[in-house]
């Protein structure tokens, strides 16, 4: 009875407090503000010390939160004794000590290892107001440690900005590590790469279904560029469109019932809508030139695509229902690989200028074009993170192409894949 009472009371309390939190720490865009954050080493609560577990938690949190651009890290060298104390309660943390170091936010945590079992307790504190902002207890196995840390990084962003981070999602890409271009999947920090196909042919151009853990891609396995779909967990794979000629650039609609796809069966690359069994529902473009590489608007009413109908490759936007297309890009002579942002306001693309590709974004009304990369090397094939905070792309400045990530304003660039193989065509999943 008392417990129920307390829960009700606690719920009432949580409301005004979280409302206050929203006004105290206000973040509008990555890079615009930086909150001083103290990220302490996670400590063993029970059971043996597991230095690798602690190191992985901190490595992941450090990388994810740094990439977010929201924080300025307080140097661990300056940490005082509270950093070494297992005190996860807001009435036990020595907040004045952290305040003295200039920290406004504080992450503390513990881990407990018992055999294969792992429990991680993670907390985010508001140092200024001496209170807990959010916390979670992650229960799983030792091998889940990185996923736990990514999940907490997502939670930290949610607590401070109102929008969850994308760090628990995955990135699909093409690598030729085995000698053939095959489909691979990795964490958003480039770790835990795993190969999903063994076609020993040419696999290209993956794209995730909007909600499912499923990838569309093109493969020459049957001696034609055909469209395949693959369920990531079951490993099930099916060839779903195999018309003569191109079956490329398949992109599942937000409703997951239709796929925009480039076919050349009528003698010219055109964009069609097909259902999930590959049956043609509708032709969207009808033009003498090349029409390819569609990207859905988040509401599923329009697609951005590439066409050379006015001479050079440019980005166009077509209405799915009327088929009416309007040109989006006006600058440059070669614009390609459009990617509609998850918020719907911008389209990212790559432009070749001076013999080199760089990444740009533009508002969907054709205004406010912004250049994000400035060489060296070719930056190509941008794709948005599910929250729109980041872009993943390929860059060849070090010989082989590698997958890179940056903030949506072009800052914070980092390489995700190793340089031992040619890596390209990244696609970012929705939240996993």
């Amino acid at each position: 009875m008392f417990v129920r009472w307390m829960l009700v009371l606690a719920a009432c309390l949580a409301l005004p407090w979280s409302a206050m939190a929203a006004t105290e720490i206000e973040i509008s865009a990555p890079g615009e503000q930086s909150i001083p954050l103290a990220l302490t080493q996670f400590l063993p609560a029970q059971g043996p010390q597991a230095a690798r577990v602690a190191a992985e938690i901190n490595e992941v949190l450090d990388a994810d939160l740094d990439l977010s651009g929201l924080f300025r890290f307080v140097s661990p060298a300056a940490f005082l004794d509270d950093a070494g104390r297992i005190s996860l309660l807001s009435n036990q943390v020595n907040f004045p000590q952290w305040r003295m170091l200039g920290a406004e936010t504080l992450i503390k945590g513990t881990y407990s290892v018992a055999g294969e079992q792992l429990v991680v307790e993670a907390r985010l504190f508001d140092v200024v107001n001496r209170r807990l902002l959010t916390g979670r207890r992650y229960v799983g196995e030792v091998k889940d440690v990185r996923r736990m840390a990514h999940a907490f990084a997502d939670l930290v962003l949610e607590a401070l900005t109102g929008e969850e981070g994308p760090f628990s999602s995955r990135i699909a890409y093409i690598s030729n590590l085995t000698g053939h271009p095959e489909l691979w999947l990795m964490d958003v920090d480039g770790k835990r790469p795993i190969r999903l196909t063994n076609h020993r042919s040419i696999v290209l151009n993956p794209d995730f279904s909007p909600r499912g853990k499923e990838v569309l891609f093109t493969s020459y396995r049957a001696n034609n560029p055909d469209l395949y779909r693959k369920e990531v967990y079951s490993g099930k794979e099916a060839r779903l469109s195999y018309k003569p000629g191109l079956n490329v650039a398949g992109r599942m609609a937000p409703n997951e019932r239709e796929i925009a796809l480039t076919l050349s069966k009528d003698g010219n690359p055109e964009i069609y809508l097909v259902d999930i069994s590959g049956r043609i529902l509708k032709r969207i473009t009808d033009n003498w030139g090349i029409d390819s590489d569609p990207s859905w608007s988040p509401d599923g009413s329009r697609i951005a695509f590439v066409s050379n109908r006015q001479g050079n490759p440019h980005i166009f936007i077509a209405d799915i229902f009327t088929g009416k297309a309007e040109r989006l890009t006006t600058q440059g002579k070669y614009n390609a690989t459009p990617a509609w942002s998850p918020k719907g306001d911008r389209v990212a693309f790559s432009r070749q200028e001076g013999g080199r590709f760089d990444i740009y974004t533009i508002k969907t009304d054709g205004t406010d074009e912004r250049r994000l990369t400035f060489g060296p090397g070719n930056s190509e094939h941008p794709r948005w993170s599910p929250d729109g905070r980041f872009l993943v792309y390929s860059l060849d400045k070090s010989g082989n192409r590698a997958i890179y990530v940056m903030r949506a304003d072009g800052t914070g660039t980092r390489r995700l894949t190793t340089l031992e193989s040619d890596c390209r065509h990244p696609a970012w999943s929705s939240r996993w």
Binding site: L9, N205, P313
Partner: protein, 178 residues
Amino acid sequence: MKVMQMLKVAMVVLFLFSGLIGCSTTPPVAPMDDQAKVSQADMSQKAEVKGVDDSSMKGEAVPSHDAVAGLERIQFDFDQFTLSEDARRILGENAKYLNANGGTQVVIEGHCDERGSDEYNLALGESRALAAKNYLVSLGIDAKRLSVISYGEEKPLVSGSTEEAWAQNRRAEFKAVN
């Protein structure tokens, strides 16, 4: 300010409650607000991502068709699939060969140089192969004898990032269908 006063009152109430519930020997009691904000997440995975088991899967190597000796490849300008004078002349010769060798089935491969987006180049390679096919058909070759495939920039003829290499890689090739 009113909120703060409410909170203070609430905290006092909470403190009393927690005193009632917790017994004197328990470790420090979490402030209610802490408890309300900490939840639990089960991170154990129901399924693992299926990686490829090399031993159980068989993939076929990409079949490489042989070039037909009597059929010469044609070249294209950057980002173009229109046929040059030279290309038309070569296709005329190729048509003569195909007329003289009625049984030959041909797959026309369209290729691009490494510049440009992979995705767009797949379409461009297709348009190059189709342009060659359509011209041969216009010269009287049965369309049934001609198929097309685009490899985009996946199969360069020569490696290197020079004008010379790029020019050679922008091509349509004529391969025998076995």
